[in-house]
Every structure is written in structure tokens, then in C-alpha cells.
């Protein structure tokens, strides 16, 4: 029996769709907990259509990002780049202890010339390490830093539990009133699964450990609050949700939501950690209100690590029972999430495989005195993938089956075709047919060994109806597309322009995208791969309406009815007689001085949901040093309509790199005795660099569906494929990520001793 929120992708909607409606599956992240829900949406096929793909000029092609030159030349203004007249710099002080109380004496800090304001941020109770406790504003960042250090914080430290082991121990200090170890699942009866395991021909088990990963966005969390008293404020925020800012900020500033404008021109990464103002935003508002001056507050890197969220870690103890053909008949497991003071995203075990097995999974979380986890790219799925794909390979080796065969046997009937097609294509791309170790790892004594591993992913990526888009055509022929949405570096700005340019028969550069401002049309926050499937249909709709409105104006000039017109490149002509035409500029001249404005809303039929992808990795293990070198990674991904092939390809590659880094390097390290975060910096919190990047190949399986969000599926399987490849290469199964050389060496020694 699978647990409540952790549903299979192919589970049916609650009932058949009403006439004119259809079901889509969307991911909603609420307080860092992701949930996949079915939504019934209008399926009005009469509106705009994407049209035949082979006739597209811009959409579905590979186009460089329109903001690329600004970014590489430094012209792009990120929120942290904002400089305003009279602006002051703020920093936050974080708690040195994980648990206890603190009394603050702010006087010495206030006395420093240039320090303008010092505020306490909470009531003195501390229940997690690094919790922000005070903030300082000063005329320079250095003085703000001096101010922080001058605050006299007197702690009364209490016993703490910063690691799950400490927290789960007997008589452990309490993290919260709900208990340190909480069982979240409802089902307590495992008898059916126990019976099935008892009858199984083979049993395979293991305990996998997953570290806490950090989002590690290059731009840290923070805002520039431009409030100088009066009735209006502007917030320049590094956020994934332009519209998550004004309400929060207004509350803090004592204004109405409508009096606050959020601006997000460019932001330097969020990966699920940047929704709402956060403690840092609240502090900046408080300081701005006190000073009547603009306040710049971006977290320093160490505070970013301590207090800006993370991907929950976990521990998965799994046992599979197999029949004599290699089919998994039963899965029993205990899944523990490590989400700090939070509960952590659900780790959906069993992940994709084991559809026909009897399943019993106990789902728990262990709380620690550390920052709450937040959503992070594909919340819960990379964690689940890590243990599940390892379990699959162990099942294969235990049964003497090919690594692809075990997957074929254990995929549900309605998923088998998709995933096997993708896995086989990955196998072909990575050279599986010539690989000698298909159903047993290489246990030979050679120094350098090569292994291959596979893994698969699923995601929803459906859209929703929150976006309102405007397209403006001016009398001089210039065109703008406006939406409040934000571009996380994913290429949102580019497809806003390309969709409109395509629809109106213009070159890409002729359409100016204006986004990242809450005074423009509303838009959803970017989470769960929902941005493009929500926004692009609305952009298309607005462009479509703009074209129709323009046709109304132009038809009389050509002496035909509006519905007889069509666009050509830079012109409008009579569909049946293209030589009867009017140039774009001349057509727009017919508009009044106010030009033309058209609105667009979400069109469910232009979006879709549900993606699946497979990846494979080839690694080389040096048995003398334990060094793991990833030689190749390949991805085959289904996708719906690709808005920009180049951008989606880099999504995939970015996901593969992030997964590689997760699998081989990244790990938060806390000292359990001292209660200190030992690697809150980019030296000791290791992230893959250029030399770690393998050859990468990405292939898309184009399909006729509408637009689907492509961000999360990309990051889910890579590390699992790499860990499996290491095992395949040298026989060592590293159960706890990251998979590092030292663990490989220790594993090799153990294998040697075993003979």
C-alpha cells in the first residue's frame, strides 16, 4: 500500500472529465512540501493553436537567449546589483548555538559611527543553528559587518541535536513539541507484505543514506527595499515569485499590497528556495521603515548555507522480494526524511518501479536543530531515485539479470514502452552493447575499470491559470509583451518574445519582452516546473488576440474581411493572395496613437503534463586511488512542445551537472558535539567544477503534446546512474552519498578481504 501523497504518475484522475474539460497533473509546493494534484481545466480547443511544428520559425527551434549578452557582459541588473540614492547596507547576525536563548545588547553596535540601525529579529528563543537574531544597517557593507560583531549576544545554550543520530537517541533534547521522530504514514499493517516477502524466491536489501544538499544559488537570498516613507515602496527581490513579494512586504511596511511593487529583472538562481520575503526580507523592510532610506540586504554565503533552506536528506531502508523470474513481488521499507526543524519533502518510495508489488513503506521524519529544508528542484524525487535505482541493480545482480532486463520486468505495463524505449536509446548512446558487465559487476583486478549505470525519472510539469499577459503594438510598429513573471535563468524572457514574434510574423529582436514587475499581469511563482506550461499558453493567447485585433484594423485597408488575412514575415497579406499585402509598419500606422493592447489568459489545451526520461552514466574507477571519473552522461527525455530547444537542452545538461555534483560531492557537514556547520563555504562544501563535467548527450523525443515544464525531471536520475555505474565498474556499492573516493577505497579493501 503506497502512502497517501506519494502517488504514481499513472494513477487515474478522480473521475472522468466534464464536457469541455480535461484533467492535468500539477505539482504544488506548499511550505516546501511538494504534492502532486489533479486539476480539472477547461479544454477549449477553439482558441489559438501552436500549429504545425515544421512550419515554426522560432518556437520549437534552438535560439540563443535574448538576455545572454547582457548577462555575460555584466549589463544585466540582478537584484543584488541595485544601487539607489541614499541606500544603506544591511547584514544579519545568526545564532551561534543550535538551541537555547539569547539576550542581545545592541548599544555598542549602535555607537559605531556609520551604523544607522540595529534591530533584534526574534524574541530570543533559538531552535535551530544559524537562525537570524539581529540585523544591522550601515552606510557601507563593512560597517554593517562591524556592527554585527559589536552586538553583544549572551547565550544560554541548551543541549541540542544537530544530526539525526543525536535526535533519535534516547533522552535526546527535544526539537519541538511534536516529537523528534515522527511517523507520517497512516498504514501500520505490514502483514501482507511480510507474507509476500516470506514466499519470495530471493530477497535484496540495503540502507541508503542521503546527505543534505544546498541550493547554492550564486546570488544569495536577499532584497533591496526602496522605501523612503510615504505610500509607495519598491522591492528588488531575488525571488522565484514576483507576486510572492508585495503582500509580504506591505505587511512589514504597514502599506497595502497594491502600494508595493516587486521588481525581479534578473535573479541568480533559486532551485526552490526563494519564495516570499523570508526572514532577510522582513529585516530589510523593518530597517527601511525605521530609517526611511533604501536598504540593501543580501545574505553572506555562510548565512545562506545556515539559514536559506536545503534539500532534505534521508535514510531509506528497503527490502525487495523477487520471484524466480526477477519480478519484485514485495517491497518493504522505512523512509526517513531529514528536514531539520521542517518535515522534508516526501521521498516517493517505491519510485516508478515495483508497480505490481505489494508495498509497505513506513514514512518518518527526524527533526534536528537545523534550518528547515525547502523545496529543491524535483523535491523528494532525486532522493527516492537514489535508493530505488540502486535496489533495482542489486535485484538484477542477485538474479543474474541484465540491468535493462530487471527494469523491463518491473515497470508497470503502461510505463514499460516509454521507459524501455528511452533506456534502450540511452544504452545505444553510451555503448552498452559492447559493455561486458551487463548482469554482474566487474570484479577483475585491473587498475582502471569502466562501469555503466541507468536511472529514470518522472515529473508532472503541468501548468495553471494564474498568468495574465499583455501584448502591446505601438503605432510605430514596435511590439512589447508584458508579464509580471520572473526568469530564473531558464529562458522565460526569450520565449515570451519568440512566441509573440512567431505569431505576428516578426523577427525575434522586434519584440521587447518586459517581465519581472508586479505591476504587469499576474503570474505564478516558478516552482514544480510550472512556469512555462502556465505562461507560454497565456503569451500565445495574448499574441493571438493582438493579431486578430490588428487584422480588424488592417482588413479595410486591403479591402477584405479580417478572417481572410494572414501574417507573413514583416507583413500582413490576404491568405488566398499573398501578393495583396501591407508591410508591418504601414499596418501599425493604421492604429491610433494609443496603439493596440491585447490580453491573454491560460489556454489549457496549449499545455500538457507528465514527462518521463532516462539517463545513463559511464564512469571510470581507478582502483589504486578510488578516483571516480564520469566519462559520459546521456539523457533521453520526452517533452511535449519545446519552446526553445537550446534552452531546454541546457536545462537537461544543467540538471545532469547538478545531479553529478549531488552524487559525487555535495554534503552538509555538521559537528555533532560542537553544534557547528563545518563547511558553510564554497571550499569545503564541494560542488563539481569544469574538470568534473563529462561528455554529455541529450536527445528529445518530440511528441505532439503541448508545453510541459522541463526543469525537474532533468535533475532526478543522474546521481543514481553514476552510483550504479561505480558499483558496476568495481563491485563497490556506496550506500551513502556522496559517492567519494575514500568510500570506494574502503569498499575495495573490504571486497579484497572477502576474496
Amino acid at each position: 500500500m503506497a502512502l497517501e501523497p506519494l502517488k504514481f504518475q499513472d494513477e487515474k484522475p478522480p473521475r472522468p472529465a466534464a464536457p469541455g474539460k480535461k484533467w492535468i497533473r500539477v505539482t504544488k509546493a506548499v511550505n516546501g512540501i511538494d504534492t502532486e494534484v489533479w486539476e480539472e481545466v477547461s479544454d477549449d480547443a477553439g482558441g489559438p493553436q501552436w500549429g504545425p511544428r515544421d512550419q515554426m520559425r522560432l518556437v520549437s527551434r534552438a535560439i540563443p537567449r535574448v538576455d545572454g549578452p547582457d548577462k555575460v557582459s555584466g549589463r544585466a541588473m540582478y537584484s543584488s546589483d541595485m544601487r539607489l540614492p541614499g541606500m544603506v547596507y544591511a547584514r544579519v547576525l545568526r545564532s551561534r548555538v543550535p538551541c537555547g536563548t539569547v539576550k542581545l545588547d545592541l548599544e555598542a553596535a549602535k555607537a559605531i559611527p556609520g551604523v544607522l540601525a540595529v534591530i533584534a529579529l526574534n524574541n530570543g528563543n533559538i531552535d535551530w543553528l544559524g537562525r537570524p537574531i539581529a540585523a544591522v544597517a550601515a552606510t557601507t557593507p563593512e560597517l554593517a559587518e562591524d556592527g554585527l560583531r559589536a552586538i553583544v549576544a549572551t547565550y544560554e545554550e541548551q543541549p541540542f541535536a544537530v544530526t539525526p543520530e543525536q535526535s533519535a537517541a534516547e533522552n535526546a533534547p527535544k526539537v519541538n513539541s511534536r516529537g523528534n521522530v515522527r511517523t507520517l504514514s497512516k498504514n501500520t499493517d505490514s502483514s501482507e507484505v511480510d507474507a509476500a516477502l516470506g514466499k519470495a524466491a530471493k530477497r535484496v536489501q540495503g540502507t541508503w543514506k542521503i546527505p543534505v544538499q544546498h541550493h547554492a544559488s550564486l546570488e544569495t537570498h536577499g532584497v533591496v527595499v526602496d522605501y523612503r516613507g510615504g505610500a509607495e515602496a519598491t522591492i528588488y527581490a531575488s525571488t522565484q515569485g514576483t507576486f510572492t513579494i508585495p503582500g509580504d512586504a506591505a505587511g512589514r511596511l504597514g502599506l497595502q499590497g497594491g502600494q508595493v511593487t516587486a521588481v525581479v529583472e534578473h535573479m541568480g538562481g533559486g532551485f526552490g528556495s526563494k519564495f516570499g520575503m523570508g526572514i532577510e526580507g522582513d529585516a530589510a523592510c523593518q530597517l527601511a521603515k525605521e530609517l526611511g532610506r533604501p536598504v540593501h540586504l543580501m545574505l553572506d554565503r555562510a548565512t545562506e548555507f545556515h539559514a536559506a533552506g536545503n534539500r532534505s536528506g534521508g535514510e531509506h531502508t528497503l527490502e525487495a522480494g523477487l520471484d524466480d523470474k526477477g519480478q519484485i513481488v514485495a517491497i518493504k521499507g522505512r523512509v526517513t526524511r531529514h528536514g531539520g526543524v521542517g518535515q522534508g519533502s516526501g521521498h516517493p518510495i517505491p519510485y516508478i518501479y515495483g508497480r505490481d508489488a505489494k508495498v509497505f513503506v513506513e514514512d518518518r521524519c527526524i527533526h534536528t536543530h537545523t534550518d528547515s529544508s525547502r523545496a529543491m528542484r524535483g523535491p523528494g524525487h532525486p532522493q527516492a531515485s537514489f535508493s530505488m535505482e540502486a535496489l533495482m541493480d542489486e535485484c538484477a545482480y542477485a538474479s543474474g539479470l541484465d540491468l535493462l532486463e530487471i527494469r523491463r520486468i518491473n515497470l508497470a505495463d503502461n510505463r514499460r514502452e516509454l521507459y524501455m524505449r528511452q533506456l534502450e536509446r540511452c544504452a545505444a548512446l553510451i555503448g552498452w552493447d559492447k559493455h561486458p558487465f551487463k548482469n554482474a559487476p566487474d570484479l577483475s583486478k585491473s587498475e582502471l575499470k569502466v562501469g555503466i549505470g541507468f536511472a529514470i525519472a518522472r515529473w508532472g510539469g503541468g501548468g495553471n491559470g494564474q498568468c495574465k499577459v499583455e501584448v502591446r503594438i505601438a503605432q510605430d510598429g514596435s511590439v512589447e509583451v508584458l508579464s509580471g513573471t520572473q526568469d530564473l535563468g531558464t529562458g522565460t524572457r526569450t520565449y515570451c518574445a519568440s512566441i509573440v514574434a512567431e505569431e505576428l510574423g516578426l523577427e525575434l529582436g522586434a519584440v521587447r519582452p518586459r517581465i519581472g514587475r508586479s505591476t504587469f499581469g499576474s503570474a505564478n511563482a516558478s516552482g514544480g516546473s510550472t512556469t512555462s506550461p502556465s505562461l507560454s499558453p497565456s503569451v500565445k493567447h495574448a499574441a493571438h488576440n493582438a493579431r486578430l485585433a490588428l487584422f480588424e484594423k488592417v482588413a479595410p485597408l486591403l479591402g477584405v474581411k479580417p478572417d481572410e488575412l494572414a501574417v507573413g514575415l514583416g507583413e500582413i497579406h490576404v491568405a488566398a493572395k499573398p501578393s495583396q499585402k501591407i508591410a508591418w509598419k504601414d499596418a501599425c500606422a493604421a492604429l491610433g496613437p494609443a496603439g493596440l493592447s491585447a490580453q491573454g489568459e491560460w489556454q489549457a489545451h496549449l499545455a500538457s503534463s507528465d514527462v518521463g526520461g532516462a539517463q545513463a552514466a559511464k564512469v571510470q574507477v581507478d582502483t589504486l586511488t578510488g578516483e571516480i571519473k564520469v566519462l559520459d552522461m546521456v539523457a533521453v527525455q520526452n517533452c511535449g512542445l519545446l519552446l526553445n530547444r537550446m534552452a531546454v537542452k541546457s536545462q537537461l545538461q544543467g540538471g545532469m551537472v547538478q545531479a553529478l555534483s549531488y552524487g559525487l560531492f555535495e554534503e552538509r557537514v555538521l559537528d555533532p558535539d560542537l553544534g557547528l556547520f563545518l563547511n558553510a563555504n564554497f571550499e569545503d562544501y564541494k560542488i563539481a567544477g569544469v574538470r568534473e563535467i563529462p561528455r554529455m548527450q541529450v536527445e528529445f523525443e518530440d511528441d505532439p503534446r503541448g508545453v510541459i515544464g522541463m526543469a525537474e525531471a532533468a535533475v532526478i536520475p543522474g546521481h543514481s546512474a553514476i552510483a550504479n555505474a561505480v558499483r558496476n565498474a568495481c563491485g563497490v556499492r556506496v550506500f551513502d552519498m556522496p559517492v567519494t573516493a575514500d568510500k570506494v577505497l574502503v569498499g575495495l579493501e573490504a571486497l579484497r578481504k572477502k576474496g
Partner: protein, 331 residues
């Protein structure tokens, strides 16, 4: 960082004049010398040192010189790592030194970092680098790594501090038989580089070398290595940039297929560059084969006492020794 005064003297006399007296052990960190700043700036920003004065060496002429005479090299303290890495003659005569320089950090760090700064850099132990952890190295009472998270710490020569010396150049230069030229208020002295570094149990635990408060490193002299083949093999967890988990500086003089003379120094495993004299002696008269590598590996790691999380350094260091010797034998 805490505010300080900044001076840029133009001669070594002026530099040492600005430094504390030779016996001012307690107050020695009131003045810090600055070379490339790749380590010092991190220390200042993390408040690991809070000097009142920073003395920039870069105003002293000639300190960056890199010169050769009859195969012997004089390397000025301000010579950059990039200069060593890119010098073709040095790479030919003292391969291990050029390779070690090239293995440091990233291109940016090698462009900026100097030989003096590299040899005098402070430990990377993450307890040392955490302002709140006041361990023995920082004047506290306890080594937190000893019973704590010690994956990156020493397996040899540890106690009471278990740092590993972070410098890549150090093992290579020790293997090359280099000497250090030191300048203090009373004048100059030279020290074999091997004796320059101090174990926490023999020197002051809060320091890593013999420099007195009034002294700076001026130059490193490397004797000629005619007839030697040498290499520096470093293992990094992340090859893009990382300190050594373990490293081997090896030099062999091979005559008639057999080792006539050998130098073997390990990095990343001990608080000082770890000279393996027994292993060096054992190499003499042998040809390099699997058995020799095994024997040498055992001898080199003799006496190793791994902590809870760093036993892997034993097979790792042995594996690197095998790689280094095999490379030299087949080069």
C-alpha cells in the same frame, strides 16, 4: 575583517624592522606579512587573525626572481606559482616542483599565489577555519578533529594537533633537497626546508614552521638534480580545484634499470611534508615493479595511525606511490 594599517616597505631591512621582536611570541600576529593574499585574506575575513598592521612584501624589489645556475635554482619568495608552473627549464630539470606548483588551487590562485605564501600558509582543517572552534591550534585546549570529523586530517605525525600541511610545493621542494633563506632582525640564516616545517609535538603547536616573529622567508634554493627523474602526484577529491587528500613527491636516479638514489615525500597525510627515508633506502638497488611498489608503500606508511574517518588515506597514499614510481620507471 578588522581594520588595520597597511604598509608597503621597499627593502627587506624595512620589512623586518616593522615585524615584532624575535621573542614576541604572544604578540607576533599583530603584524602579518602579505604576499599574494590568497590565504591571508581568507584568514582576515574569517577573523582568524586580526593584525594591527599588514606589511606588503611586494614593494621589495627582486623578491620575485626565479633564476638558474648550473641546474640549481633560486626561487624568490614572491615568485608566483604560475611562474614555476610555466617555466620550461624548471619543468625539465625539477619536474616535481613545476608539477606541484601546477596542481595548486585554480588558475587564478596560481597567478596570484606566491612560493613564500604557499610554504607559510596556515592549515585548512575545518575546525581551524571556523571562528567559533577554538582548538589547540588557536590556543584552545582540545583538538576537535581528533575525536571529530577528521576525514581530511593526518594519519602520520599527528598530535596534539592533527592538521595536514596544506602546501603542495612543500613536499616537492623537500624531495628536491631545497633550503630556505630566512631573514630576521639579526640577519640571515638558512635552514634545510625539511627542517623548516615543524610537527605540532616538537615546535609551537600554534605554528607550522621555524620562523621567529621577526623573520620572513626570502628565497628557496634548490640544488641541481642532474640525472634525476621526478614527479608530483596529487590526489584531489574534486580535480577542478582542491587541496590534496594525499600526494607523493618522488624523485629517482635510475642506473641500469635499477634505482641508484631515491627521494620520497608524502603530502596531505601529516602536519609536515612527510619524508619516507626507510622507503627511500629500500628503493636503492631495486627495479620498479609491483613488488617494489608494495614494499615501498608499506615502509612509507609505517607507523600510520588513522583516525576514525581517514583510514582510506593508507591505501590512497600507497596507490599514489605506485603511480608515481611506475610513472618514473616508464618515463
Amino acid at each position: 575583517m578588522k581594520n588595520f594599517t597597511y604598509v608597503m616597505p621597499t627593502s627587506l631591512e624595512q620589512v623586518v624592522e616593522l615585524l615584532p621582536g624575535p621573542r614576541d611570541l604572544k604578540t607576533r600576529d599583530r603584524v602579518k606579512v602579505l604576499a599574494g593574499g590568497q590565504d591571508l585574506l581568507g584568514e582576515l575575513k574569517e577573523h582568524l587573525v586580526e593584525p594591527e598592521q599588514v606589511v606588503n612584501l611586494k614593494g621589495v624589489p627582486g623578491l620575485a626572481a626565479l633564476t638558474q645556475q648550473a641546474g640549481a635554482w633560486q626561487i624568490g619568495a614572491l615568485a608566483t606559482l604560475a611562474a614555476l608552473e610555466e617555466n620550461a627549464a624548471l619543468r625539465a630539470s625539477h619536474t616535481l616542483v613545476a608539477e606541484a606548483a601546477g596542481s595548486v588551487g585554480s588558475t587564478q590562485i596560481r597567478n596570484q599565489g606566491t612560493v613564500g605564501g604557499n610554504l607559510c600558509q596556515r592549515p585548512r582543517c575545518w575546525y581551524y577555519r571556523h571562528e567559533q572552534a577554538v582548538c589547540i591550534k588557536k590556543g584552545g585546549a582540545e583538538c576537535f578533529a581528533y575525536g571529530g570529523l577528521n576525514k581530511y586530517n593526518a594519519i602520520l605525525g599527528g598530535g596534539p594537533s592533527y592538521i595536514v600541511h596544506p602546501s603542495d610545493l612543500a613536499p616537492a621542494l623537500v624531495a628536491a633537497g631545497a633550503t630556505a633563506l630566512i631573514r630576521g632582525k639579526k640577519g640571515e640564516r638558512t635552514v634545510e626546508l625539511e627542517r623548516f616545517f615543524t610537527l605540532p609535538s616538537e615546535g609551537a603547536v600554534t605554528r607550522e614552521n621555524v620562523l621567529a616573529p621577526d623573520e620572513v622567508l626570502v628565497r628557496v634554493d634548490v640544488p641541481a638534480m642532474a640525472g634525476w627523474k621526478s614527479t608530483y602526484v596529487k590526489f584531489r577529491e574534486r580535480s577542478s580545484y582542491d587541496f590534496a587528500l594525499a600526494a607523493v613527491a618522488a624523485a629517482l636516479r635510475i642506473e641500469g634499470g635499477k634505482v641508484a638514489e631515491a627521494r620520497l615525500v608524502l603530502g596531505g597525510v601529516a602536519p609536515v611534508p612527510w619524508r619516507c627515508e626507510k622507503a627511500e633506502k629500500a628503493l636503492v638497488g631495486r627495479k620498479i615493479d609491483a613488488e617494489t611498489c608494495r614494499v615501498v608503500g608499506e615502509l612509507a606508511l609505517e607507523g600510520a595511525e588513522p583516525l576514525a574517518h581517514n583510514a582510506y588515506k593508507l591505501p590512497l597514499a600507497k596507490g599514489l606511490i605506485t603511480k608515481a614510481l611506475t610513472k618514473l620507471a616508464t618515463a
